[in-house]
Symmetry: C2
Subunit: 491 residues, 2 copies
C-alpha cells in the first residue's frame, strides 16, 4: 500500500516539477492538482482532532435542530461520519440522499461509539435530489421486490450497497485464494461455436447490422456470416479451460455464463457468473472437494474479518444472524455421501416430498434441501449414475454404471457446485462423442487426450448462489446489480 | 496462507475422524486421501535433500544417455525440475510433452544453478503423446502465426504458457490495486438493451431455439421474444457502472466487451476484456489520470517482482529486453498534453504521415504512435473537441467546444485507455439525449442526475492492450487464449 501511494505521489511530483517533456514542449498541469478530499473510511481510521478536512458523500440521514443540523455522510464504504452543520450553512437542497461536499474541522465526539465528528465550515450540494419523485424515503425499509423496481437507484440504498461491498469481498477472496494456491487466472471465451454440455438452452449471436452480415457472408444465413458458423453465448468455460489445463496444471476463470431457459425461480438468471477451475494430474475427487470447501470457508472467513458492519446490516434486513451462521459454517467439515446413500435417505423419507425421488434420476430441488437439512450442513454428493450426466465425466473405478462426479448441496440454495473427473481415455471418449454425433465439432477436445493429456478434474461454482448461501439472501436477483431474466432486460 | 492450509487440513481431519454425520449415517472416505504430490514450484522452494517425493508434470525436454535419461518436468509454473531416470525405468511412451508421474528421492544437484534434482524410482506415463501428429517438436521455436493454428494446444508451448502466467499476474494486480485503493469490484451486465455510445457495431442476441422464441413471444420478431426487446452484447459497462457509482463512490469491473466490427488488425478482437472504473465526486481529470498511471505502473512492478523468469522467456522470443523496458517505464511520469498541442505537433510533422492529421478530427493510429515516440513514452491527451466525442462527456470549464476527457497513448499500441468526466448537469444532458433521440431509452441514465448525482468520471482500459504494451507482444491474438475475430471462432 505504501508502495502504491509512492507511485502516485512520485507521478504527481513529476508532473509538478518536470513540465517539459523530451520533446521540449511546455504543458500546463496546474489544473490537475488533487483537492485533498479524504474518504470517510480513512477519515475515521486516521483522524487527527483539530485538522481541516474535505469530505464528499451522500447524506444518509439528517436531523434538524434549532442551532445545528446533524448529518450522517457516507461515500460508499460501510462507515459514515457525523457532521454538524450550523443552521446558517444549511439550505433547502440539502436533504436525504443528496450529494454534498463539506469543508470543516475534525472535533472530538461526545458519544462513546463515534470517536470523532466534523464541524462544518462550508457546505456545498453538488448533486440535488428531486425529492417529490425519489422512490425511497429516509429511515424507511422497503421489501426487495419494491427496491428491484428501481434497479438503477438500488445502489443508493443502505442494504443493497452493503450487499455490493460484501459481494466484492467474496469475489476478491475467491480470486486470491486460488491464486495463493497456485492457480492461474485465465479468460475463456463468451462467444463459442459449441455448447459445452450439449444440454441447456443457449443464446445465439450475430451482428445487429444486417448490412454488415450481408457484406460479410450470404443473405440466407445472417447468423453465420460474421464467424462463418453459428456462434452462441457460452454455458460453461469448462472445455476451453481443459485445453489450458493441458499446459498449466491449475487454472480458473470467473466469467459470465448464460442460459436462455424460461425459468423464473428465485435461483435462476439468464446471465450469471460461474467460478470454474480445472486441475490437471487429478485422478480422484479429493483435490476438487478440498478446493471447493476451502473456497467456501475462506469466503466466510473474509466476511467475518472484513465485513462485520455490512453483515449486521444485511442480516437485520433478512432477519438472520449472519455472524453466527458463518461461525457455524467454519466450525464443521462438509459431509460426503454417495448418490446411492442420498437416494436411500430420500426413499426412507419419501412421504415428506411433493414429488417422489426416483432411483437413477436427478435429485430435485426439494430433495436437495431435505438432504442438507437432514445431514445438518453442506454435503458433497458423489458418484452419480452415468446415464444422467454429460459425456465428459469419467467412469467410476469400482462401478461402471457410475461416473466420478460431485454436486455440493448447501442450505437454502441446494446445488452450489458441480464437478467431476474428466474422461481422459481417448478411445472411451471418442466412442461417447460419436454416439452423440459430437466427434466432429469436438475433435479439438478429443485431441487433448491424444497429446499428453493427464487425468484432469474440475468444478463450476455459481458465484451468485455462493453469495446467496453465505448472506442468506433468498433471491439471486437481489445480488446481481442488473439481473436478466425472461421478459426482463430493462436497460 | 497458513490459515488457508489450516482450513484444508482441518477439513481432512474432520473427514478422517468424524465419518458420522448428525444424521447418523456412516460414509466411506478412504478413497479421498491426498496422494501427497508436490508442485514443482514448492519442491524447488522447500526441498529437503533425501526426502521421497511424488512429482507430476509434462516432459519439457529429455536427453537419453546410456545409463540414465535426464528429463526436465514442468507442471505449468515457470520452474522445471530435473529428474534422472535409470534406463531400466524408461520406456517408449515417455517422450517430449507426454504427461508423467514420478516417484523418487530428492538429491543434491552437481550443477550450481539448480540446487536439487530428483532421482526417479518409479515412472508412469499418465498421458501419452501421439508423436506423429503433434504439431510441435522438442527444442523448436515456431512463429506465433503457426502456433495460433493449433490454438487448443498452444498452452502446451513454453512461450504461451509464460504469457498466460504473466497475464494472470497482471489481471490480479489490476484487481488488487483497485481494491487496495478503496474501489469495489462489481459485475455489470453483458446482455443489455442499450448500446453505451450509440456508436460501434454491436452483436444481437436471441435464444437459439426458435421454438422457445415462439412460445415466449410472437412469430414476427424472434429476437424480441425472450426479453420483450432487442438485446445486445455490451460494448461498455460504463453507464451501468455509473448507476452503481450513484451509491458507492469508487467502483470497477473487468468484464468482456464486444464489437462486431469487421476489423482485422493486430490490435482488434470481437471479444476483449476491458477494465472500467468510475469515481464519484470527481470534478477534474486528476484522479482519473493518477489511477490509470498507477495501474500501469503497479502492473509493471508486479511483473518485475514476480515474473522475471517468464519475462525472460517471452522477451527472448520477441527479441525484447522486457526487464529493461519495464524498469524504464517505472522511472518516469507520464506526460500530459492537450488535443490542441497534440494537433500542433502532428501538423508540424505532417509530411511523416500517410494520412494528414485533420483539425477537429480523431487522431489516427499512425499519429498516436508518432506522438508517443516523439514525446518519449506514455502520454495522456486531454480536452478533445466535443463534436467527435460521445454525449456523456462533460463540457470543459474553459472552452465550451471541448470536453474534459483523456486518451492514454502508449508505445507500440497507441490508445490504451479512454476516460472522461461525465456530464452531470441534468438539463444539458437531457438536451443532448433529446437531440440524439436517446432520451426515452436512457431515461434511467438521466435519472442518475435527478437523484443526488455528484460529478463523476471514469475510464476504460483494454486489458489485452495493456498486456501487449507491457510484454511487447505485437498481436493481441497472441494474448487471448481463444481469440475471436471476423470469420474466426473455431471452437
Amino acid at each position: 500500500m505504501a508502495a502504491f501511494k509512492n507511485i502516485i505521489f512520485q507521478s504527481v511530483l513529476n508532473r509538478i516539477f518536470s513540465n517539459k517533456t523530451s520533446a521540449g514542449l511546455r504543458f500546463n498541469f496546474s489544473r490537475f492538482k488533487s483537492d485533498g478530499a479524504v474518504s470517510v473510511k480513512s477519515l475515521l481510521q486516521d483522524h487527527v482532532v483539530g485538522s481541516n478536512v474535505l469530505v464528499k458523500g451522500w447524506v444518509k440521514s439528517l436531523r434538524k435542530q434549532k442551532e445545528n443540523t446533524f448529518m450522517h455522510i457516507g461515500d460508499g464504504s460501510a462507515e459514515q461520519i457525523q457532521v454538524i452543520i450550523p443552521s446558517s450553512l444549511c439550505h433547502e437542497d440539502c436533504c436525504f440522499n443528496s450529494a454534498v461536499v463539506v469543508r470543516g474541522k475534525v472535533v472530538q465526539s461526545p458519544k462513546v461509539n463515534q470517536p470523532i465528528e466534523v464541524k462544518a465550515e462550508n457546505l456545498e450540494v453538488v448533486g440535488r435530489l428531486d425529492v417529490e419523485c425519489f422512490p425511497f424515503g429516509p429511515r424507511k425499509i422497503y421489501p426487495p421486490e419494491y427496491v428491484r423496481q428501481h434497479i438503477h437507484l438500488r445502489p443508493k440504498t443502505t442494504i443493497y450497497s452493503a450487499i455490493l461491498r460484501l459481494s466484492s469481498l467474496i469475489t476478491t477472496t475467491l480470486h486470491n485464494t486460488l491464486i495463493q494456491d497456485g492457480f492461474i487466472s485465465v479468460s475463456v471465451p463468451i462467444l463459442t461455436s459449441n455448447d459445452c454440455e450439449g444440454a441447456g438452452e443457449v443464446f445465439l449471436v450475430r451482428p445487429a447490422s444486417e448490412e454488415l452480415c450481408r457484406e460479410m457472408g450470404n443473405n440466407e444465413k445472417l447468423e453465420e456470416s460474421y464467424f462463418n458458423k453459428r456462434v452462441y453465448l457460452t454455458v460453461s468455460g469448462q472445455l476451453h479451460l481443459e485445453a489450458i489445463a493441458g499446459g498449466i496444471s491449475k487454472v480458473f476463470t470467473m466469467g459470465p455464463t448464460f442460459r436462455s431457459e424460461n425459468s423464473r425461480t428465485r435461483r435462476h438468471l439468464a446471465e450469471f457468473r460461474m467460478l470454474e477451475a480445472e486441475i490437471a494430474f487429478c485422478s480422484d475427487l479429493q483435490p476438487i472437494l478440498s478446493t471447493i470447501e476451502s473456497l467456501v470457508k475462506q469466503s466466510a472467513r473474509s466476511l467475518l474479518e472484513h465485513g462485520k458492519q455490512d453483515l449486521a446490516t444485511v442480516g437485520a434486513y433478512y432477519k438472520e444472524n449472519l455472524e453466527e451462521s458463518l461461525d457455524d459454517l467454519l466450525k464443521k467439515g462438509f459431509s460426503t455421501i454417495t448418490y446411492r446413500q442420498a437416494l436411500e435417505l430420500l426413499l426412507e423419507n419419501k412421504n415428506s416430498f411433493n414429488k417422489s425421488p426416483q432411483d437413477g434420476a436427478d435429485i430435485g430441488s426439494e430433495h436437495e434441501l431435505f438432504l442438507v437439512k437432514h445431514i445438518g450442513g453442506p454435503v458433497f454428493v458423489v458418484d452419480w449414475p452415468a446415464k444422467i450426466k454429460p459425456f465428459y465425466m469419467r467412469t467410476a473405478e469400482d462401478d461402471h454404471s457410475l461416473v466420478s462426479c460431485v454436486d455440493l448441496l448447501v442450505p437454502g440454495v441446494g446445488e452450489l457446485c458441480g464437478g467431476s473427473l474428466r474422461e481422459n481415455r481417448h478411445s472411451i471418449l471418442k466412442k461417447r462423442l460419436e454416439i452423440q454425433s459430437l466427434a466432429e465439432t469436438l475433435n479439438w477436445y478429443l485431441d487433448l487426450r491424444r497429446f499428453g493429456g493427464p487425468p484432469t478434474g474440475g468444478f463450476g461454482m455459481g458465484v451468485e448462489r455462493l453469495i446467496s448461501y453465505l448472506l442468506k439472501i433468498p433471491n439471486v436477483k437481489d445480488i446481481v446489480p442488473f439481473p436478466r431474466t425472461p421478459h426482463h432486460c430493462p436497460m
